[in-house]
Symmetry: C2
Subunit: 693 residues, 2 copies
């Protein structure tokens, strides 16, 4: 193979990843036996890309240096990040050699290391710090569990089908795209029409199947790929279904969240915790959602890692002993009222937000604060992080309050952590369905005389009214809280009937006077038995990591100014590799020093790579900067070496025996670069062998 | 509730887990609203158990202290381990409140911590130490990938159905149970018959569907639960099937192993490694097998964590640069010949086994040695660990050699790690199916004149002979290695035909003379292109952990001799919690010291629990011994405290400021207990407040 062919081939292999969204180029290479013609076409395409490069880079620079963030720049910025991520195998579209499956991605070596670092810090920051009970439950889940939780009936998206090809689309996506396109590109629409489109966009999540269908008809929306007519919207359950065991009779699903595994174990976990509240259980694991048409790359995928906490508290006492440790924090909060009145998020003191009742209770506030610390510690830019309260229409009817940690990236503001006070809903639903009481008890020091609620369903009447489902209605009535029961009692007395939600039926029934007797009796009680409330912080690990990539990415010119070089400015905590080691030039003495340092780093438990290639030092720095490696050690003498910090490019000289412990301290956060910079001699290049870019 | 009722209730809750296999007792409690009668029945059962206890304990003691290990003792020992594991939530049958699903288990808090420790050590010992490329691929896998790997066609077990109830059984299990029962319990059978049963047991894995069916008929085996007749055996695919995307047209499976995710990424990983061999990729993740009738508790489950390594090497050079680091190791090896001649495993030097060719090559040998170090470091007893070579009939036809790390537990010798040289099979299969060449290249310093293999399939002839599948046959012919091609050439010349395995068809076809031209031509080559061999160590993490539980468990009498107390002697590396802290008695000064030490331990990153309960110190020690906590710190003064080691029960006195760093050194392996014992004053109890049991 001639030299030019060889370098072309290298360039192509290199660019295959770099230009993966560019049609022809990729196709020519995919076949893996590109003909002469196809290679020529690929070169043309590459040259063309090169011409476009300078203009794209200008936009990029604007975006990176805080430009106005218009759609084109954002798209170019994202493309630059994604190209780097794919080329360096932070992630890989899964099953690529078989043309892949939408919404499934592999993490390659650096991505895998970043994920392990994020999860390990999550464990440290939440599980160990708060003594949470970690559990690990299977992904395969029998139907009964997800029936109780409501997922079998309600975990759906509305879908429309291309009536000729059968291709499926999310109905709300089509309507959203249509309205956005009209608003952005159609200059002829009237002010009224524009207002209408905006209203549709604002209320998109509230539209029923019928309303969505009507809008699609009214606007004449057709299948985007074929322009064929569309079916009416119908619900599609997002769970991957399977069958457990050989008989085919036990339906199962791949869990859509990890939380249910914790709820069904509540009784054992409460006992393990010495029958004391509050306590939290936590779980890290895979979750699955069979998305209708995944888009937005790593942000909307069909399989992902969730890290969830279920913090169980007495509903009558949601204070938190450690709230004072986070109450001073100030960050962007976006309460319901501000959203409704069209304002934007403002910097708010967490303590005040809880004191004023904006945040429902201290425990919820405590977790908001801890999530803020977690995300910013990972390297999320605090100015592109906000806590947005759910609007009333977004929140489940049982939820007391709900805040999302949203991170701004090139796709807009993305929900990465949900922090919800789900009240007693989940434990009640499983209590009703399983017949096992998932409750806690507060023991009284002295027996107390209490008015005790007595609920007596009149079985005959209920049997007549709800044939076939009387058992569920009776159990649900018996499981009512005092508040619910007294509300029903007064309804029955005033109106003669009451609407009543039966979770196990998944619907509301009408209870009439005479179907249930509700009274209060005086009784001596030794304890108070109640269903705990659940406060649930739920972390989408893949989304957090993707946003982290965008927030960490920047470009800077190479030393000669010819090129723009990519850098990921990961904090050492997150960096996939903590340190690179290389000899300044290929010289046995220097190579021996590099090997010696590598051994010392392994012994100290510092993950590192050693680069013995003959590339220029500048090229080697550039390669590790692109992986976000924070420190590089260059062996250029037999007594001491230089350590270079990635972002400042500053270098200090350290004697060899101290290198490993200094890098360990730097990566574990015991020392900052500023500490090292002020304590050790600075390095300046000598003999024209420049260690800098 | 009266006091006796209360303690009864406690006992019941406690025993519910302890006697979970005892029929009535559990049923009475499962309903969770046990009537008076049911509670009485439960008490009777419990008393009955108590009577049996002393005899069981004797057997237990015999088993633990190395008794002869007969079935009854082994069963009793296992029951004791499993009771402790379930009661302390090391694991929990999944979805227990819904009566569970066979073969699915949750890890509770201590089990989860043990698992995290084992995985973290695995990463350290394999991935970091050997610079492996870790990846993380989805569990949901499209059919095409598992078709190529052979799982869609061949990942099956033979099943029979109860013809009346439809209940399914594994055919080989029924035949095995029948033969074992006859051999063990039927004293009337002849010597010939006994020999026949033994032969059946020995060849069980080799029997075809027809042979299995014939034996079942011949022996008159019926459904064990109902005595109904059984269907003929038929294959049942063990993969959980699902459907990807909303259209229902893309079949998918939950992966049965993690390895395929690595193979399909070979090209990218090879490039990431600078196009150099050898290198290894690694993956930790969930795998799924829809077992027909799971038994053996944690050992045969439907969802489990695998940790797999795929080490890619040049098939012409399987030496390993670090083999000398493990060649001196001696442990139990059980080569093929010894198994065939009825001998048992013998202590062998690894270096000799490789030198003598018992182990096929150095790389395979290196991994056997590393696996030995890994398992024994975790706490697996080296006398109950052996490496057993696969017999010829156990091994896939393409495999060069295969060794299982088997660990002996109460279920017998259990395969926990498989270490296989799979040659080029997997990469070839995906190359054929995807059309993407998964190959490596060795660049020559100087171009070489080589005899080059040229394979020219004669399309017309092949088309006539293999209508519909000619494409697969042609691709497979073109993908032959030199050795295979030359073998075929000589077969065609001598016999006029050759049997040829086409992986993509999953069968062997007959190639006749005239269907393919195989020749050698002289050519200048710049590189040698070849399919790498794969050496695959594959770890069943759950099985290793279960065996670790059995190997770590023992009982010892309490101080007053009234009770037998459970201990897990986990090494600090594995222990779910490294340290317990408690005040000697409930006294504010001691409690303050305990809190202070807890803070110091948190800062040092040592996982611990603090126990402020008023229980006796003996009871508190017993509780943490049962969790396998290696060190306990008792706060009994304001200047210094005691540290107690779990197994020796020895105690030393340490001044408070040094406690955290000493415990950290102990748990991270920088210091042994012997070091601490020789350096610090020993503690003896004073004032009758005994810190010992």
């Amino acid at each position: 193979m001639a030299a030019s062919d060889e370098s072309l081939r290298k360039a192509l292999i290199d660019k295959q990843l770099a230009v993966d969204s560019q049609g022809n180029v990729v196709r020519a290479l995919k076949a893996d036996k590109a003909s002469k013609l196809e290679i020529d076409a690929a070169i043309d395409a590459l040259n063309h890309l090169k011409l476009e490069k300078s203009s794209i880079e200008k936009e990029l620079q604007a975006a990176v240096s805080g430009g106005d963030g218009n759609a084109v720049t954002r798209e170019a910025f994202r493309q630059a990040v994604v190209n780097t991520l794919e080329r360096r195998l932070f992630y890989i579209p899964s099953f690529k050699i078989y043309r892949g499956v939408a919404g499934l991605y592999d993490y390659g070596p650096p991505g895998c290391a970043v994920k392990a670092n994020v999860l390990s810090f999550w464990r440290q920051h939440f599980v160990l710090e708060e003594n949470m009970l970690e559990v690990d439950c299977p992904c395969v889940t029998p139907e009964v569990v997800l029936k109780a939780s409501g997922h079998v009936d309600k975990f759906t998206d509305l879908m429309v089908k291309d009536l000729k090809t059968g291709t499926c689309y999310r109905a709300d996506h089509l309507l959203k795209d249509f309205c956005n396109e009209k608003l952005q590109k159609d200059l002829t629409i009237s002010t009224e029409k524009a207002a209408e489109f905006k209203l549709v966009l604002a209320t998109l999540d509230d539209l029923s199947s019928e309303e969505l269908g009507a809008k699609i008809k009214e606007y004449g929306i057709v299948a985007p790929d074929t322009k064929n007519p569309l079916s009416d919207p119908y619900p599609f359950n997002l769970m991957f279904q399977t069958s457990i065991g050989p008989s085919g009779t036990i339906a199962g699903f791949m869990r859509p969240e990890t939380a249910q595994g914790i709820f069904v174990n509540f009784k054992d976990l409460y006992y393990y915790n010495g029958n004391r509240l509050p306590f939290a259980a936590a779980q890290i694991g895979q979750a699955f959602r069979n998305e209708i048409s995944p888009r937005q790359g790593l942000l909307r995928v069909r399989e992902f890692t969730l890290a969830e906490i279920e913090h169980f508290v007495d509903p009558e006492d949601k204070s938190h002993p450690k709230f004072s440790e986070v109450s001073h924090l100030e960050f962007l909060m976006f309460p319901r009222e501000q959203q409704m009145s069209g304002q934007s998020a403002t910097k708010t003191c967490l303590g005040e937000a809880v004191a004023m009742g904006t945040v429902n209770n201290e425990t919820l506030g405590y977790f908001i604060g801890r999530v803020y610390l977690f995300l910013t510690h990972l390297g999320i830019d605090k100015d592109r992080l906000r806590f947005r309260q759910h609007l009333a229409n977004e929140m489940a009817h049982y939820a007391a309050d709900c805040w999302d940690a949203e991170i701004e990236c090139s796709y807009g503001w993305i929900e990465c952590v949900g922090i919800a006070d789900r009240s007693a809903y989940d434990l009640r639903a499983h209590t009703e369905k399983s017949g096992v009481a998932l409750v806690a008890a507060e023991k009284f020091a002295q027996p107390r005389e209490v008015e005790k609620l007595v609920i007596t369903p009149i079985k005959k009447e209920i049997g007549l009214a709800f044939k076939g489902s009387q058992k569920m209605v009776i159990e649900a009535l018996e499981a009512m809280t005092e508040e619910e029961a007294m509300k029903m009692k007064s309804s029955l007395e005033s109106k003669g009937e009451d609407e009543f939600l039966v979770c196990t039926l998944g619907k509301t029934v009408t209870i009439k006077d005479g179907m249930v007797k509700i009274s209060k009796e005086k009784k001596k009680e030794h304890q108070r038995v109640f269903t705990p409330s659940v406060i649930e912080p739920s972390f989408g690990i893949g989304r957090i990591i993707y946003c982290l990539y965008e927030h960490s990415f920047y470009k800077r010119p190479s030393k000669d100014g010819d090129e723009q070089l990519n850098v990921f400015s990961f904090p050492p905590l997150v960096a996939p590799i903590k340190c690179t080691v290389f000899p300044l030039i290929q010289k046995p003495e220097y190579e021996a020093v590099a090997q010696r340092i590598s051994k010392l780093l392994t012994a100290a438990g510092v993950s590192h790579i050693i680069d013995m290639s003959g590339n220029t030092i500048g090229k080697r720095y550039a390669r590790t900067d692109e992986l976000g490696v924070p420190f590089a050690i260059t062996a250029d003498s037999e007594t001491d070496v230089t350590i270079r910090e990635r972002d400042s490019k500053d270098q200090v000289r350290i004697i060899i025996s101290q290198v490993a412990s200094i890098v360990k301290d730097l990566t574990e956060g015991h020392k900052t670069w500023a500490d090292v910079w002020s304590a050790y001699p600075h390095h300046t290049s000598v003999n024209g062998e420049d260690n800098d870019l």
